[in-house]
């Protein structure tokens, strides 16, 4: 542990994350800066969580957004119906996503490659269709927070800052956890599974358990994130909570930065969101944005499959100590 903490790569990753998190405190238009940073941090936390499964274990979850949606729904329901505090609701959201991942994991992690990817899409779509019919969660209309809930936190401004700080702390925790996983024995087991699952089992890795725990770990953070995000938005609908497209964007961010590295998803997510933010409000480019991202993804898949950080690591071996 002590040795792990001396790794400059960890501090670099944490410093970059903290820089994003602290920026709104220094900016002149703080509310606007907060919104921009919120989007970036949300992407970083989601991509880094996904990376635990995708990057370290080699299982491609196409429907990972289901954990963000489900966690968001559970937490939102508790806040809206029982007036639970945001922090507790966030934990409940994380827990429910973790439970779903645990139950699912035992079953669908037996599938390999494309079959697993297809199954995760199926799970996301089934969940969305189910929530649409689930009346306690508002069915197809979803739920809206009564504005009184924000007043309980000292007004909407306070409440938004609280959601922001929660997201910032969560992102830092995700980065830390993903570093600890990567440098631990558990992480080595996962990477052995990624390289060759059968060989890993022969070497003594209990693959079903290791995969399931990786899946749970990568699901718990999106669950918490979902609660914070939908608390900020103030409403939740099946259409917005289980957007298949967003989970694939998550994969793009991981691939862009470099899968299987700690720093990669952070840089990939930040770069992707920045690109999106720039093009978002331009009528000419707001749709091209998707095409630009597509071309970028295609180039990476075809020519630099290891992503930016992975490429730097292979190209400049001296950087490996810093770029974990």
């Amino acid at each position: 542990m002590k040795k792990q903490l001396r790794n400059p790569g960890l501090w670099l990753a944490l410093a970059i994350t903290a820089a994003f998190a602290l920026w709104p405190a220094l900016a002149s238009n703080r509310a606007y800066a907060r919104e921009t940073s919120f989007t970036i941090l949300k992407a970083v936390a989601f991509a880094a969580s996904l990376n635990i499964l995708l990057g370290f274990t080699g299982y491609v979850s196409f429907g990972h957004i289901v954990f963000l949606g489900l966690g968001g729904y559970v937490g939102f329901y508790l806040m809206d119906t029982f007036g639970l505090h945001l922090a507790l609701a966030a934990l409940a959201g994380g827990l429910s996503s973790a439970i779903l991942a645990f139950l699912l994991g035992k079953a669908i992690l037996r599938l390999r490659g494309a079959y697993f990817a297809l199954a995760t899409i199926g799970v996301n779509e089934a969940m969305r269709a189910f929530i649409k019919n689930f009346e306690p969660f508002g069915g197809p209309i979803g739920m809206t927070l009564n504005f009184g809930v924000y007043r309980a936190y000292g007004g909407p401004d306070q409440a938004l800052w609280m959601a922001y700080i929660g997201t910032a702390l969560l992102t830092i925790v995700v980065v830390l956890v993903s570093f600890l996983v990567k440098t631990s024995r558990f992480g080595l087991g996962l990477m052995a599974i990624r390289e060759n699952e059968d060989a890993a089992e022969v070497m003594g890795v209990v693959a079903p358990n290791a995969k399931t725990w990786a899946y749970v770990l990568s699901a718990v953070f999106p669950g918490i994130l979902g609660v914070l995000f939908f608390f900020k938005n103030g409403n939740i609908e099946p259409r917005d909570a289980f957007v298949l497209h967003q989970s694939i964007e998550g994969i793009v961010m991981v691939m862009l930065g470099g899968h299987g590295t700690v720093l990669g998803p952070i840089l990939g997510a930040a770069a992707y969101q920045r690109l999106r933010g720039l093009l978002l409000v331009s009528p000419l480019f707001k749709n091209i944005q998707l095409a630009v991202a597509g071309v970028l993804l295609l180039i990476i898949i075809l020519f630099i499959p290891a992503g930016a950080v992975g490429w730097l690591r292979t190209r400049f071996s001296r950087l490996r100590r810093v770029l974990v």
Binding site: N29, T36, P156, V281
Partner: protein, 447 residues
């Protein structure tokens, strides 16, 4: 030495990223959309400025999103056209002059929300924080407005909602959101009354509606009302907003044996529903749909449109006048309906729908509130809106001020239209209910 090189690297990367962040903040104008004109035909407000030498000029920025694309584009573009017509008229007339000599003029900032809530929240946040809009107008549709209203409240901006009828938005504890439309709970109750009037023998009703905030609010209230009148509701089912195939629902209607069908949702799904009912030669006597029928574009359906009934917030034939205001003891404000109709047709070369009038009246409400408050201070404007009770070409405007339903529209009421064929065989839209405002008798049963 080696270590030093690493840390240089680290710092360089870090500062690159910080600079990256900083850049997002610094030149917002460079990345901003050039304000896209909803339609080409717009007069630039320049001429009148010279006539107002006295007083300081103040420009209020109105922020809103437009569904330039996506499934709400037909209704949303009309709404924005109406709003633009109002803005140009006010600016051309030299703005609003307050008692201290300040001249208030209006400008706007808008983005395309693509008819999705996800973008609405992002964009209203941007309008409230980065663009510093003074007042907000809602996007089109209850679903998008619910998402936008929350942002308005979070950032303390007054928002006038139009094209957003759902009651539930005004029961979330908001204090800055004001509704121009008759709430959805009163959308189809009149259609039930009309049915009872044209054919008292009908006893079985079917509700088939879009599963969204607005339509659900509408049919829940209509269902309750119909049952209180002794109707038997034999089918009550929602369809997904993205539904393309109404086959299963049409089969269920046939199975249920209902003679009257009510429901629908917005323009796209409603017109698809009507088209497929026609294609499948479904025999139904009474067919009332939300939102789609009052739009002039509904006539594109041809024979499928004949006999379809729809609730409307306003029709060009509506006759609200200064005299009727005086009779009702209300203050009259603004132009006559016929004047609005003529100005709108001149500006956009198309017939206005009630969504166009909705955009126009949202502007009028803001204008009147600023005039009454004699100030642009949000607190004073809010107080003026709470006290407002006026009659315009659109009808009466009066807001609920109770904490339970603050901002809900309680003054305005609906009319019902039906598409009929005139003697020459052309499709025409007739007002059929309430009886005192009707322009034709109801065509019943639907052919």
């Amino acid at each position: 030495m080696k270590k030093f090189a690493y840390w240089i690297m680290v710092m360089a990367l870090l500062s690159a990223f910080l600079a990256g962040c900083g850049a997002t903040e610094a030149p917002p104008e460079a990345t901003m959309a050039p304000e896209t004109e909803p339609t080409a035909a717009e007069a630039e407000p320049t001429a009148a400025e010279a006539e107002q030498p006295a007083g300081e000029e103040q420009t209020m920025v109105i922020g809103f999103t437009t569904s330039q694309t996506g499934s709400y584009n037909v209704s949303s573009l009309r709404q924005v056209n109406g709003l633009m017509l109002w803005m140009n008229e006010v600016n051309d007339a030299g703005g609003i002059t307050l008692s201290d000599g300040t001249v208030v003029k209006f400008d706007y900032k808008t983005y395309d929300d693509e008819s999705t809530t996800e973008r609405v929240q992002e964009l209203y946040t941007r309008l409230s924080t980065e663009d510093n809009a003074d007042f907000l107008i809602s996007p089109y549709s209850s679903g998008l407005t619910a998402a936008a209203a929350l942002i308005a409240e979070q950032y303390g901006k007054i928002m006038i909602t139009t094209g957003a009828a759902s009651d539930s938005t005004y029961k979330e504890g908001y204090t800055l959101v004001f509704q121009a439309y008759t709430p959805s709970s009163r959308y189809l109750t009149g259609a039930v009354d009309l049915l009872a009037h044209v054919d008292p023998s009908v006893k079985q009703l079917a509700f088939v509606y879009e599963n969204d905030k607005f339509s659900t609010d509408v049919v829940n209230a209509a269902n309750e009302y119909a049952e209180s009148l002794g109707y038997e509701v034999v089918l009550f089912e929602g369809y997904d907003s993205e539904t393309k195939d109404f086959g299963p629902f049409i089969n269920k209607i046939l199975e249920s044996g209902a003679q009257a069908v009510m429901g629908g949702g917005h323009f796209q799904d409603g017109s698809t529903f009507a088209r497929q009912v026609h294609e499948k030669d479904v025999d139904m006597n009474y067919f009332a749909l939300l939102v789609a029928p009052p739009e002039p574009d509904f006539a594109d359906l041809g024979d499928a449109a004949v006999g379809v009934i729809g609730p409307s917030q306003w029709e060009p034939l509506a006759a609200f006048t200064p005299e009727s205001a005086a009779e009702a003891g209300l203050e009259w404000f603004g132009v006559l309906g016929s004047e609005f109709d003529a100005a709108y047709q001149a500006a956009y070369d198309e017939e206005p729908s009630y969504h166009s009038m909705g955009g126009y009246v949202a502007g009028q409400i803001l204008q009147k509130a600023i005039m009454d408050a004699d100030s642009t201070d949000p607190e004073a404007v809010k107080a003026a809106m709470e006290a407002m009770d006026m009659l315009t070409a659109y009808g009466r405007i009066n807001f609920d001020t109770s904490p339970e339903a603050h901002g809900l529209q309680i003054g305005h009421s609906m009319v019902y239209i039906q598409w009929q064929k005139d003697d020459a065989g052309n499709l025409v839209k007739q007002v059929v209910w309430p009886l005192e405002g009707k322009t034709a008798d109801t065509l019943y049963p639907k052919p």
